[in-house]
């Protein structure tokens, strides 16, 4: 063996040097790559690590509480509700997961998938609500199998609750989940899955009632377990909102209306505040406060009796005799009659060659204006109709707020309809025939009004021309004086009509059912045919008339207005006036308690 010292290893060592150089270059290249991701792309990776470790949870805020005008009766509050959500990030396979969850929640896989699909746009770590309003049994079933279902999470949320169930349901309104369309337009600042008021006070005052959601930023590990809390912003509930509703009046109105179809509106004559607003049939909004299109709601929406419709604002009815005060005011203001002008009623009269009937077939004989209102004589008002132009009638109806929205602070109000020559030409392309005016004079024909419009008109008559904006929020009572408007019609004219309305209730007139001792109720009733008299006779059907009542009390310094409509209730005097009487009586009893200062 050659001595190692003389061995020539130079070629091998050259190659070793080459390999070392390659290694050195690779070190440089790799280091450059580290420099790139740590220095150049630092921001991107830093953000990724932050979103890895933190999880933001929304703490939903409870909605503001709604109370009656006294502030003590809570009409809408919040209760704790459980919801179960699925976190897609924690599933290995969504389909498998849905199949396992389906029997646990008692929901079809298809339904579950539909619910997941709805929120597909949310990031993977965001829980998607698959079922809400869980019962305690359901909660314990899910919690008990927590280990088997790492993708499910049970959370609590404040849920709107109406302790008196259907009480004032149409005034309060209800909530529904925001649709993608809502989120694009009116609710840009809200999140998918949020509930919002759709109707009534809940809808109109959504931004006032919805609280400010809080948030919780948590540190989580790779398994999604909470490790720490970084930031906590408590949700903010807004101050409670007192409504103008009077709990006792509302309760009695609903009691009296139960089983019928119709509406009752009671206004505070001094402010326009709505003391009671009842519409029947009604519904229990508690039953469909859920994210998912509830069966109860679909049923209600399909119900031919339309319980979801707020008849006080959305029901448009022929006013019938309720319109007569408006006619009287117009005729007086135009100087066509005075309160002493008399017409003779023989039970019917010919106008433009056609017979028009009074509801009282024997006839009222000769009567002046207050008597005509007291007895609701049709012939008297036919005579006014013959002397007035339809456009004049339309002008006075407009002065009294008919044919347009009252501007009440809840949505969905209908305008009703006041015909005019222009309206006829536009809609039917025909001129107005004077004969048609005769029907309008007793509130028939194309005329249509809502109960709320009639209530507002009655309040304006009660206030001798001053008109208040109907409203449902108590704070607005203070502003009533500012926003009040006054018609140019002199108050003396209103006084003359009020005389007739007073007689109607207190001197054995059609409104006598509403009489309350020492409360000076002034009233007007109406009974409107739902089909024409000729049609009715031809078909042999005797369908009951709609019953109307409107009135206020007391005569001087009026405090309360009550308007009632009962669909197919029969005669207004018989069906509606006694109900009004109960309400006036209740109001009087409640406010007649001897005040301590008077020393009684």
């Amino acid at each position: 063996m050659v001595s190692p010292i003389y061995e020539d290893m130079t070629p091998n060592l050259k190659r070793a040097r080459l390999v070392f150089i390659v290694v050195a270059i690779l070190f440089g290249v790799v280091l450059f790559f580290y420099w790139k991701i740590q220095i150049l792309n630092y921001g991107k990776f830093w953000t990724a690590s932050e979103s890895n470790r933190t999880r933001e949870i929304v703490i939903p805020a409870p909605r503001a509480i709604l109370t009656d005008r006294g502030g003590s009766v809570i009409l809408a509050n919040n209760v704790v509700a459980f919801k179960v959500s699925l976190i897609r990030e924690n599933t290995r396979n969504l389909e498998e997961s849905l199949a396992r969850i389906s029997p646990l929640l008692g929901l079809d896989v298809a339904v579950l998938r539909q619910r997941i699909d709805k929120y597909m746009t949310l990031p993977l770590f965001r829980p998607i609500v698959v079922k809400d309003n869980l019962s305690l049994t359901e909660v314990s079933q899910i919690e008990g199998r927590r280990m088997d279902f790492p993708e499910l999470v049970i959370e609590t949320e404040p849920k709107r609750a109406y302790p008196f169930l259907s009480f004032a349901a149409h005034a309060l309104g209800y909530l529904q989940e925001l649709t993608p369309e809502d989120l694009r337009t009116a609710f840009k600042d809200r999140k998918i899955g949020d509930m919002a008021g759709k109707t009534g006070i809940e809808g109109a005052y959504e931004s006032r009632l919805a609280g400010v959601d809080g948030k919780l930023v948590e540190v989580v590990d790779s398994l999604g377990r909470k490790r720490d809390e970084l930031e906590r912003v408590e949700p903010r509930q807004r101050a409670k909102l007192a409504l103008t509703l009077d709990f006792d009046l509302q309760a009695m109105a609903e009691e009296l209306l139960a089983g019928k179809e119709g509406a009752i509106v009671a206004l505070d004559a001094r402010t326009g505040g709505v003391l009671a607003l009842a519409s029947f049939p009604t519904y229990d909004p508690n039953k469909f406060i859920t994210r998912f299109t509830p069966e109860e709601w679909i049923e209600l929406a399909r119900n031919p009796d339309t319980p979801l419709v707020n008849r006080a604002l959305q029901g448009q009815y022929s006013p019938g005799s309720i319109f007569k005060p408006a006619m009287a005011i117009g005729a007086l203001d135009l100087g066509l009659i005075t309160e002493q002008t008399t017409f003779f009623c023989a039970g019917a009269a010919l106008f433009y060659g056609r017979p028009f009937h009074c509801w009282f077939e024997p006839g009222h004989g000769s009567l002046n204006l207050p008597e005509a209102i007291r007895q609701s004589c049709n012939v008297y008002f036919y005579n006014l109709g013959m002397r007035m132009k339809i456009d004049d009638i339309a002008r006075y109806a407009d002065e009294l707020g008919l044919g347009k929205k009252t501007g009440v602070d809840i949505a969905g109000e209908k305008t009703g309809l006041v015909p005019s020559t222009e309206w006829k030409r536009k809609t039917q392309g025909e001129p107005w025939y004077p004969g048609e005016t005769i029907s309008v004079a007793i509130g028939q024909g194309p005329l249509q009004v809502t109960p709320l419009q009639i209530a507002a008109m009655t309040a304006q008559i009660a206030n001798r021309g001053t008109r208040f904006q109907p409203h449902l929020v108590l704070e607005d009572d203070a502003k009533a004086g500012v926003s009040a408007t006054r018609t140019s019609i002199p108050s003396a004219i209103f006084e003359k009509v009020i005389e007739g309305m007073w007689r109607s209730a207190n001197m054995e007139g059609t409104g006598r059912g509403a009489k309350v001792e020492k409360f000076d109720v002034c009233a007007k009733t109406g009974s409107t045919q739902t089909i024409g008299r000729e049609t009715s006779e031809r078909l042999g059907i005797k369908k009951k008339t709609h019953s109307w009542f409107t009135g206020f009390a007391p005569r001087n310094n009026p405090e309360i207005v009550v308007t009632i409509l009962i669909e197919f209730g029969g005669g207004g005097g018989a069906a509606a006036a006694p109900i009004a009487g109960r309400l006036f009586k209740l109001y009087k009893d409640k406010h007649d308690r001897p005040s301590p200062s008077s020393g009684n």
Binding site: R17, V19, L31, S49
Partner: protein, 364 residues
């Protein structure tokens, strides 16, 4: 056996660099596993102590003596690994000695690297032609393929692959004709390409990767590398601080104390930490590579070069793997990653280099 002259010749700088990197590893292991049961930190410290003792013990034996034993050592490891494979399969789950061995935490496949280095060094020390002949190439390749297959079947692809730089190091040093290089490269490419694309099915590839990687990938392929890149990238220039890396501490990072230990470094100490460790590792490897020139014989030259190639390969593959420049194959980084056998193997390998160096003085 050991001479005072030899003691004087020990390369203390190389030992210093070796210990420096090993201690860095222990620190990183602490950060990445202090919240886990199993006290990895202390176990690694214990292994470090054992490794240092064993290193100095091996220094007392001349490497030429060790070369003489190399065929027997090699044969022992092949037999052990084959036995592991066979018994591990047939009586899986039973309380066999194999199971006891794994409880002890040793991995014979790691130490097989030392056996291969010694055997190849012995083979090549007698080979003096200017370039590799076909028969000789086949002999050395055969010596590598045998443990490669046995280890690969365990399956431990990472360790098996780590045998290749030992073989290639030896071949390169021996001298390859241009023809051989082209043939080898082309063969590797074709084999790798067809193997990955046509032979292995998707689930096999995935299984291979996940078997090599102890922690299963729950959220789709690429998750590990992504989390690793997030960890490193979010470290920025100076890092989030020791034990303050969110990716590490909240377990977003997979295999933190083993394969992805450098990701922990990158996250908690930033680019400066990466730069420092790369530098210290580079000095360590440079010291090894330059030691090749100080060997007085062929065998010694081959030993040091193969050790240097093995460690350089493992380091480079690991640091590329964790940032997605190389497929995840489960190759730990020597000295830094947790693992007793790996640490011991590295120490013994460096011990061989030291052994050669201290005996390079001709005037004994």
């Amino acid at each position: 056996m050991i001479d005072r002259v030899h003691l004087r010749e020990i390369d203390w700088i190389l030992i210093g660099l070796l210990l420096l990197n090993a201690v860095l590893g222990v620190v990183l292991i602490d950060s990445s596993s202090h919240y886990l049961a199993g006290s990895f930190f202390f176990r690694q410290l214990l292994w470090l102590l054992v490794s240092v003792i064993l290193l100095f013990l091996t220094l007392t034996v001349d490497y030429k003596v060790l070369l003489g034993f190399s065929p027997y050592v090699y044969g022992f490891f092949i037999a052990l690994l084959t036995g592991l494979l066979v018994f591990g399969k047939t009586i899986s789950g039973a309380k066999s000695w194999v199971v006891h061995l794994s409880v002890f935490g040793g991995q014979p496949s790691e130490l097989a690297k030392i056996a291969l280095i010694l055997l190849l060094a012995r083979i090549f020390s007698e080979y003096r032609r200017r370039s590799l002949s076909f028969g000789f190439g086949m002999l050395s390749a055969g010596a590598t393929v045998l443990p490669f297959v046995v280890i690969g079947l365990q399956p431990d692809l990472g360790t098996a692959v780590s045998l290749l730089p030992i073989l290639f190091g030896a071949l390169i040093l021996c001298g390859l004709t241009r023809k051989t290089v082209v043939l080898l490269l082309a063969g590797t490419l074709v084999l790798g390409f067809t193997g990955w694309n046509f032979v292995l099915k998707d689930y096999q590839k995935k299984r291979l990767v996940t078997l090599v990687n102890p922690s299963q990938d729950p959220r789709g392929a690429g998750y590990h590398v992504l989390q690793s890149k997030i960890a490193i990238g979010s470290g920025g220039l100076s890092g989030k601080g020791f034990k303050k890396g969110t990716q590490t501490q909240l377990k977003f990072l997979p295999a933190r104390h083993t394969d992805f230990i450098v990701s922990v470094l990158g996250e908690e100490f930033g680019f400066l930490g990466i730069f420092a460790v790369f530098l210290s590792y580079f000095f360590f490897l440079a010291r090894l590579f330059t030691s090749v020139f100080q060997s007085r014989d062929r065998a010694g030259m081959y030993i040091i070069f193969m050790v240097a190639c093995l460690l350089a390969f493992q380091f480079l593959v690991n640091v590329m793997m964790i940032v997605g420049l190389f497929p995840v194959t489960g190759i730990p980084i020597p000295l830094l990653s947790y693992g007793g056998s790996s640490l011991l193997t590295t120490f013994l390998a460096v011990g061989l280099a030291l052994n050669v160096k201290m005996r390079s003085c001709v005037n004994v």
